[in-house]
């Protein structure tokens, strides 16, 4: 169970990204975060694994206060939380295999990993993860030789290497075409259903949110304006989230 309590983040330049956000995610949920650009979705996700230090408030996960964790504890918490990104954030020049193996860094000895020494078991696990997302034949290609959709699936494989219990996805399909978007989200859905991984995913398209989410949380100017089931977002609520002039577009 993930509890977010009164979370606030004010950046150094005075920007108030999120303000007093509280909600609870039960294990196994597929929560979609929606909202306009700049509404605080990315900041919220990054506060959970403390890529961004929250200004105040708490993040409690299975009884452990992440916001109070020491650097060492934080690393141990982080390795149980997978994360994928809008820009995939792969090391472009490294091979797909190296990128996937880097997901295992939290588990292995520092110096062995610096020398590129991963155990046979880790390599098999990496192959299995790549097989699962269907890009195993590209294992020894350079990451930037892959298409956008393939790169994002490598991103998922990297997160899978962590054996995560929670998956954070920061607009994972915003750089992809509609068809590829669906395939990537289907992999996330599969992980959620088959492995019971809790997913917290921010999206732009409400149609995708309705299709994949079990619950939707909407942010506006850093505050929660909706928290409920996908079917409950009607025309009025849509306007409240996206503004008067917004028109809902369907994504096939």
């Amino acid at each position: 169970m993930l509890e977010i309590q009164h979370l606030t983040k004010i950046y150094e330049d005075g920007t108030r990204a999120i303000h007093d956000v509280s909600f609870t995610v039960r294990d196994g949920e597929f929560v979609i975060l929606i909202g306009l650009s700049g509404s605080g979705k990315s900041t919220l996700l990054r506060c959970i694994n403390r890529l961004v230090e929250p200004t105040s408030g708490k993040v409690i996960w299975n009884g452990v206060d992440i916001t109070a964790a020491s650097p060492k504890e934080l690393r141990e918490i982080r390795r149980n939380i997978g994360m994928i990104f809008q820009q995939f954030n792969l090391v472009k020049r490294s091979s797909v295999m190296t990128n996937v193996l880097s997901g295992r860094l939290g588990y292995v000895n520092t110096w062995a990993s610096v020398l590129g020494q991963f155990g046979r078991e880790d390599r098999q696990r990496a192959f299995a993860a790549l097989e699962r997302v269907g890009v195993s034949e590209k294992a020894y290609n350079r990451a930037d030789s892959l298409s956008g959709g393939q790169q994002q699936r490598v991103g998922i494989a990297r997160a899978l290497m962590q054996s995560p219990k929670l998956m954070l996805a920061d607009e994972p399909v915003a750089s992809l075409d509609p068809a590829t978007s669906h395939s990537v989200l289907k992999y996330l859905e599969q992980l959620n259903r088959e492995d019971g991984i809790t997913v917290l995913c921010s999206l732009h398209f409400l149609s995708l949110a309705r299709r994949y989410g079990t619950r939707i949380i909407a942010l506006k100017a850093g505050e929660i304006v909706f928290d409920g089931l996908p079917k409950d977002i009607d025309h009025e609520r849509f306007k409240a989230i996206y503004g008067e002039e917004a028109i809902e577009v369907e994504i096939a």
Partner: protein, 575 residues
């Protein structure tokens, strides 16, 4: 929408687009503006003076003068006058400084300033400078310039002190005339239908134009550009060009054509038979004085069938075979020569047989590299290794330094930020000193030779690469760092997996680029004794051996071109 915003704005009106402008900032902008104006005016004055001094009348005066400068105005007076003119300029319109400092005067409440107010503003400013005028007069009568400086700068200081006290950054004069200063935070509204006046009709534009014209005129004079000499004296360079296109590369081994004629001292009853001319074989015969005689007798020899137009030596060979040079000889186009000389005072007992030998040297042997070429190749190898050592050492040293001077890694806490600034400063200073100057220092330190060159180039390489590398570190994509951190990796792992792979291509590119530069630099570092081919080059130039120098020049050109080409290929393949 408010009433105010609906009002039609005209060109020249100001709209506040940002707030929170501090008085310190206004004062700073004003000072920058005034400083730029004063600088520009002083520059105009200095270049005009220089041009006037070029007039024949003053040129004579400069030549005749002993110590006392011609047309001299004390700098204190020039600068004070410039300040006064700058104040007028700034008040009456958009001055160059107004442009540079991004300031403009406007009426309180964003209106344009009328010409009357501008005049008043300028006049009051001028009156504020009265102590400066007094100071100048005092200077004129007492010739004590430093006190005048104080006096001249006082009113200005007061002017700006006041601007610091006023909440809107206005000076006393501004307040009296009801003018304030607008900064770039207030954006001018431009009516698109009105074509703005072209820049050169504005006072600042005209000033810039004048400064440019004056700069190029004085530049032409100072650098003594003489197109006439370029055309007229071109033939002088002809032998040099000939040497340049015929470098000293290969030669044929010379072989000697030798012929001898016998001579007895003194004559006995049985003198040697005169030598005969043998067809198609170099032959030497004595044509006058016979084949025997006394020391000091005048004899003549004639050579035939030698190589035409060649040089050689005529020897006297005594009975035990010791050779003495008589004179140099040269064959004509038929391969013959004839010389007259006195029999030398050669050693030998009576009635012994001496010989006259003619040795004509002809380049007929196999081709081989000249000594010049061999020296050049030798030094070129030294040069390339010099560049290699300097680049390698430079890379090794600059990598840790580049981390210390990468903003994104160092700026987080005060201690590392201090290290960052110190490193950057040292590197900037080191980089701005040319390798040739470093070489001079190291030549004194470790002695003439390639080691001094290695040290000099290493130092410059470190300074240059540390900057390039640190910029590469600063510009890496933070995304992968974020992603790897999120997997629970520690700092070392993050650097190994997210930072280092991103740094490799720029590191390789910059290293090759530097290696390229170092080869180039190492060819000239020898000019000051830092080893390498430059050392030979400067020697040959000083000895006026331009053919040899040309060999070195071509070798440098060849090696640099090859390096250039090779590094381009390597860079393409690796990056």
């Amino acid at each position: 929408m408010s009433e105010e915003q609906n009002e039609i704005l005209r060109r020249g009106d100001k709209v506040i687009i940002a707030r929170g402008v501090s008085r310190l900032k206004v004062a700073r902008h004003r000072f920058t503006g005034l400083f730029a104006d004063v600088l520009a005016l002083c520059y105009l004055y200095a270049s005009i003076r220089l041009l006037i001094l070029q007039l024949p009348k003053y040129k004579e005066a400069v030549k005749a003068s002993t110590g006392q400068p011609v047309l001299y105005v004390p700098w204190a007076i020039v600068i004070s006058a410039a300040i006064v003119v700058a104040l007028f300029w700034g008040s009456l319109g958009r001055s160059l400084g107004g442009r540079v400092g991004n300031i403009e005067y406007r009426r309180n409440g964003a209106k344009k300033v009328s010409i009357i107010r501008r005049l008043l503003h300028a006049l009051l400013n001028a009156i504020g400078m009265v102590p400066a005028y007094i100071g100048l007069w005092w200077l004129h009568t007492h010739d004590a310039r430093y006190e005048t400086w104080t006096l001249a700068s006082l009113p200005l200081l007061l002017l700006f002190l006041w601007a610091l006290v006023d909440p809107k950054g206005r000076t006393l004069v501004d307040r009296i005339t009801g003018v304030e200063v607008s900064l770039p935070e207030y954006k001018e509204v431009v009516d698109v239908r009105v074509r703005p006046r072209p820049w050169y009709t504005r006072s600042w534009g005209a000033a810039v134009l004048t400064m440019l014209i004056l700069s190029y005129t004085t530049g032409w004079i100072i650098t003594k550009i003489d197109l006439n000499a370029l055309v007229r004296d071109a033939p002088r360079a002809k032998p040099l060009f000939i040497d340049l296109v015929t470098p000293d590369l290969f030669e044929r081994t010379p072989t000697d054509q030798i012929a001898r004629a016998k001579y007895q001292i003194p004559c006995s009853g049985n003198p040697p038979a005169p030598a005969q001319v043998q067809p198609d074989k170099p032959s030497l015969i004595i044509t006058r004085g016979g084949t025997c005689g006394e020391r000091g007798d005048l004899i003549a020899v004639r050579g035939e069938n030698f190589a035409p137009n060649s040089k050689g030596i005529l020897f006297w060979v005594d009975p035990i075979g010791m050779k003495d040079r008589i004179r140099g000889i040269q064959t004509d186009e038929n391969g013959t020569f004839e010389y007259t000389f006195n029999v030398p005072n050669a050693r030998g007992t009576d009635y012994e047989i001496h010989e006259v030998e003619a040795a004509i040297s002809v380049p007929a042997g196999p081709w081989r590299a000249t000594i010049t070429l061999r020296m050049v190749i030798d030094k070129m190898i030294e040069t390339i290794f010099l560049a290699l050592m300097a680049t390698t050492l430079g890379v090794i040293i600059s990598i840790p330094i580049s981390f210390l001077s990468a903003r994104n890694l160092m700026i987080h806490n005060p201690l590392s930020a201090t290290i960052y600034y110190i490193t950057r400063t040292i590197m900037n200073i080191m980089r701005s000193i040319e390798p040739l100057i470093w070489a001079l220092i190291f030549v004194v330190w470790v002695g003439i030779g390639p080691f001094a060159g290695v040290l000099a180039l290493t130092l410059h390489t470190v300074a240059a690469l540390a900057k390039l590398y640190s910029e590469a570190i600063e510009s890496i994509d933070p995304g992968p760092i974020e992603a790897v951190t999120a997997t629970g990796a520690d700092r070392i792992q993050t650097i190994a997996y997210a930072v280092v792979p991103q740094m490799i291509p720029p590191f390789i590119a910059f290293t090759i680029y530097r290696w390229d530069i170092n080869v180039r630099m190492s060819t000239v570092i020898g000019l000051v004794g830092g080893g390498g081919i430059g050392f030979l080059l400067i020697q040959w130039i000083n000895l006026l051996q331009y053919r040899q120098a040309a060999t070195a020049v071509w070798a440098i050109a060849l090696v640099v071109a090859i390096m250039d080409y090779a590094s381009a290929i390597v860079r393409e393949k690796l990056v």
